[in-house]
Symmetry: C2
Subunit: 116 residues, 2 copies
Amino acid sequence: MNNFQKVSVEEGARVELHDLLALTGAEISINTLPAGASVPFVHSHRQNEEIYAILDGEGTAEIDGETVAFKAGDWIRIAPSAKRRFFASYKAALKYVCIQVKVNSLENYTMTDAVV
Amino acid sequence: MNNFQKVSVEEGARVELHDLLALTGAEISINTLPAGASVPFVHSHRQNEEIYAILDGEGTAEIDGETVAFKAGDWIRIAPSAKRRFFASYKAALKYVCIQVKVNSLENYTMTDAVV
C-alpha cells in the first residue's frame, strides 16, 4: 500500500472516504441535506464515537431526547450509545462531515505520537 | 460524561478538539497557515494515521520525498511511517483540518456499527 492517498471531492457530492483513501482508523463521510430534509430514523452505534463538523447551513439534532441547534463552524461529538437524529433547517442546505472512530481507541496524539 | 459535546469554532482560529469535545478515538485540529508559510520540519508518527481535509487555499506536501499538490476539497490520508511536511501556496492562506486516529483501530462502521 502507498504511504498516502488523495481524493478530490466535488462540491455537493456525497462521498464516503474509507475505501477511497484506504482508511484504517476511521470512516469519514461528506454529506449534504437539502433545506428541510432530515435523517429521521433514530439510531445509535455499537462501538463508534461520531464527530460531526458542520461546514455550511444550520439545523438541529435530537440526542437522547434533547434538541441541540447547530450551525456552520460547529463540531459535535456523540457517544456510541446516544440515540440521535438530524434535521436541516428550512433556510438552506446543510453540508456536514461525519467522522466515525472506535471509542477509546486513541492512545497517543500530536507530540506524544510524532517522531521529528 | 454527557452523551454529547458541542463546540463552535471561530473562523481563522487554531483549535484542538480532543479535550474540548472529550474525544476518545481521535484528535482533530483546525489549522490556518498564512500564504507562503509552512510546517517545515519533516515528521512521521508512531501509530497514528493522519487524514487532512483542505478547507480553503492550496499548497503542497512532501511525503516520503514525493511532492503532492493539494487544493480546497482535497482529502489526503498519510500512513504513520510516512515522512511529511507541508507548505501553503504564496497565493492565499491555507485552512485545513488534521484528523489523527490509531492505525487499524476501526473494526465496524456505518451499517455494521449502527443500531436502528
